[in-house]
């Protein structure tokens, strides 16, 4: 199971772009109004910083995954304890993404299909891709799906050109202010910072030295795509409407009409997003099951899928309605997981790990 830099790039792009563009921009526009694009730029900077730390951390022990390197850095027991929040995150977020995906499909496409079938179909595909080839299959499908889902954003871009009104982006800064802009940036940042998952993928890179460039590039390109979408949202819907929509980008797409001829393209775009979410879910599934196997020293990691899948399925059925899933993104992910799991602990691990490695190196140098 080795992946190339090119594959990693598409994995990161696909994982970040779709979800961020659909789910976070409504909250950002609510705070930052027409300065949403500044918020997204700010989010990009945060995401790049998180990625930088994550890559530095994984390059301390390029052969080891996050699970192993944490236990090397902090020792066996402390390392295991500090991994607990990550397992909480991986299990819960896989379930919630599954549910968010199903809710979205349910609202926009299939309103009489039972929710559990939508979830089960996706879960079936995710389990299959993991079981058949693990990361290698996911990376290969990412290589194909990534460009296709990127094409989706290009389609939105060109089809909405005639509805743009640049004046809606004005005035810059004065209607929102510094604090709302920064605060608005945190929601997309918390989604874009998912590139942290690269710590689990680094060990599979064919050329670890390309890890830094590829990961940062993936995050940057995905962020720019989100930036483009946020500008389109403001230019088409103005600064006051988008936050009233749950999925503003979806509403933009359903608004598209080119020459009265190309209309109702939302189905196509939803499809592109769905396959993007498939890559993201498969990746999380892989990380969860591989991580679990390493944590408990299970030799055949694929066996863990058989009980992780039902757990994830159960978690995805917990939220009572769409408000509950939104609460997860807004409260748990944004307020707890993002600062602790994605920013705090990695930074701590990196610093401790770097110092320990330095000391070890010094000691070795002193011995000689």
């Amino acid at each position: 199971m080795k992946i190339s830099g090119y594959q990693l790039f598409w994995l990161i792009f696909t994982m970040e772009f779709g979800m961020t563009a659909i789910f976070t921009l409504s909250a950002t526009v609510f705070l930052a109004k027409q300065d949403t694009w500044i918020s997204v730029l700010f989010a990009t900077v945060i995401a790049l910083a998180v990625t930088f730390v994550a890559v530095k951390l994984s390059l301390l022990y390029p052969e080891k995954t996050f699970i192993q390197s944490t236990q090397i850095i902090l020792g066996k027991w402390l390392g295991k304890i500090i991994l607990i929040p990550y397992f909480v995150m991986w299990y819960s977020v896989t379930g919630v993404i599954l549910r968010e995906f199903a809710d979205f499909v349910y609202i926009t496409l299939f309103s009489s299909t039972p929710l559990w079938t939508i979830i089960l179909i996706m879960l079936g595909a995710v389990v299959y891709v993991n079981y058949s080839g693990g990361l290698r299959s996911i990376a290969r499908s990412g290589e194909i799906i990534g460009p296709i889902s990127a094409a989706g954003s290009v389609i939105i871009f060109f089809f909405s050109v005639k509805d743009w009104d640049w004046l809606r982006l004005l005035p810059v800064y004065s209607n929102s202010g510094m604090l709302p802009i920064l605060e608005g940036g945190l929601t997309p940042a918390s989604f874009l910072a998912e590139s942290f998952m690269v710590v689990m993928l680094a060990a599979f890179m064919i050329k670890p030295q390309r890890l830094m460039v590829t990961s940062l590039l993936g995050v940057a390109v995905a962020s720019m795509a989100v930036l483009g979408m946020s500008i389109i949202i403001i230019m088409v819907f103005g600064p006051d409407l988008p936050d009233k929509f749950i999925y503003p980008l979806y509403s933009i797409v359903s608004y598209i009409s080119v020459m009265e001829f190309i209309q109702n393209v939302d189905v196509l775009i939803v499809l592109l997003w769905i396959i993007g979410i498939f890559v993201k879910l498969s990746l999380y599934m892989f990380i969860t099951s591989y991580g679990t196997a390493q944590m408990f020293h299970i030799k055949k990691w694929k066996r863990t899928i058989w009980w992780i899948a039902p757990i994830v399925f159960a978690i995805s059925l917990i939220p009572r309605n769409t408000n509950d899933t939104m609460d997860y993104a807004k409260n748990i992910w944004h307020n707890w997981i993002f600062p602790i799991n994605l920013v705090g602990i990695p930074l701590l691990l990196w610093i401790v790990g770097a110092i320990r490695k330095k000391l070890k190196g010094d000691r070795r140098a002193a011995e000689h």
Binding site: F110, S111, T113, S174, P239
Partner: protein
């Protein structure tokens, strides 16, 4: 091998799940709703109507006889109840994804349309790309009933008329929502009315623009030309003909404008006093010349151009004054101009914009550039000696 055998039931299971059987609605189970209407009845209940396609008649043409659509109505205390009553009479599910027109009767518009608006964007079956029309002096139902000879389905007519006269179609719902959620501005909707005149049949006519206040209640209308001037200010127009009586030139001149521009400069002249300088630019050609001027001479063309500009400026100013004094609702985008050009001051002004707006001092300069005079040098109907060179 065992693996392969196990995968067969899985694949068959997928076949059942992924074909979307639960949500399958055959075309023959759908009733396509092309236009709908809502009216306020005298007893306070709502009357909704829908214009549905009869698919078997749409392709056959005249051979089958009869119109390819029918109208079904429902009456209820709330909108949903009225629609429910309609559904009780329909053998198929209502599919709204092709609906492009929604008519609102005048009494409904005056009563306030806030109860209507939410459903248009909340229900995913609806399209945001929608035109809502106010039917001036009538009921929305009247507009549905009009038989329009040029189009198979009459509800296509207002969309096409709207486009043919140079307006932007299908954006009125979104524009309405944007204007009503933006600080200071008031929403508008396009207007049709049902006229007969001297022609043998009743027909639907594009009338102009309806102005609403902040409570979504109709306060008044702009007629066709006034509405067009407003669209010009908002740069939402692609065609306009101006016919003006020009005493200085000695007759009537008709001009067709097909390129439009607008620049608005705002100045703050005192506390709560604002001045707007509006420069409308455009280029077009002379389509009709009933004066004795030979327009091939630049001097004469300049004269016509100057006079047209002067007249049009007066008309635009009159329209703006009407909006300011009579309707007292900012439908001209002045709030946006202030927000863009004086963002600091706007924070103070926006709370009292309703009182500031009617007192804004406005200056209008129309700056048309006549680029062509058509195919004739001088009016053919006059003798050479009568022509002013």
């Amino acid at each position: 091998m065992r693996h392969r055998l196990a995968s067969f039931p899985c694949l068959i299971f997928c076949l059942v799940l992924t074909t979307g059987c639960w949500d399958r609605v055959e075309l023959s189970d759908r009733a396509f709703d092309l236009a709908a209407s809502t009216d306020l009845m005298e007893d306070g209940s709502y009357l909704t109507g829908g214009q549905f396609i009869i698919p078997s008649r749409i392709s056959g043409g005249a051979a089958n006889g009869g119109q390819p659509y029918f109208i079904e109505t429902g009456n209820g205390k709330s909108l949903l109840e009225a629609i429910q009553k309609t559904r009780q009479k329909l053998s198929r599910n209502i599919t709204r994804s092709h609906r492009r027109n929604y008519y609102i009767g005048e009494s409904m518009a005056k009563h306030g349309i806030n109860e209507l608006l939410d459903g248009f964007s909340r229900d995913p079956g609806n399209r945001i790309r929608l035109d809502i029309w106010v039917v001036k002096g009538g009921q929305g139902m009247d507009a549905l009933k009009v038989h329009y000879p040029l189009e198979k389905i009459p509800s296509v007519a207002p969309v096409k008329i709207h486009r043919a006269i140079g307006g932007t179609t299908a954006t009125s719902y979104l524009d309405f929502m944007m204007a009503s959620s933006s600080e200071g501005s008031s929403p508008t909707l396009p207007v049709v009315d049902i006229v007969q005149g001297d022609s043998p049949q009743k027909t639907i006519r594009f009338y102009g623009r309806a102005i609403f206040n902040h409570d979504y209640k109709l306060v008044g209308y702009l007629n066709f030309v006034e509405g067009a001037y407003r669209q010009w200010m908002l740069q939402r127009i692609s065609y306009l003909d101006l016919a003006e009586e020009l005493p200085e030139a000695g007759g009537k001149v008709g001009v067709i404008v097909n390129q439009f521009g607008c620049k608005i400069k705002s100045r703050i002249t005192g506390t709560n006093k604002v001045k707007m300088e509006i420069e409308l630019t455009g280029s077009g050609y002379v389509a009709e010349n009933n004066t004795k001027l030979n327009l091939i001479s630049n001097k004469n063309l300049k004269l016509v151009q100057k006079e047209i500009n002067k007249k049009t400026s007066e008309h635009v100013l009159a329209m703006i004054t009407k909006v300011q004094k009579e309707y007292r609702a900012d439908v001209l985008g002045f709030n946006q101009v202030m927000n863009r050009q004086h963002p600091g001051e706007w924070k103070r002004l926006k709370g009292q914009w309703d009182t500031v707006f009617p007192e804004i001092e406005v200056a209008v300069h129309v700056n048309l550039n006549l680029k062509y005079v058509g195919l004739v040098r001088q009016p053919l109907q006059y003798k050479e000696s009568e022509i002013i060179k």
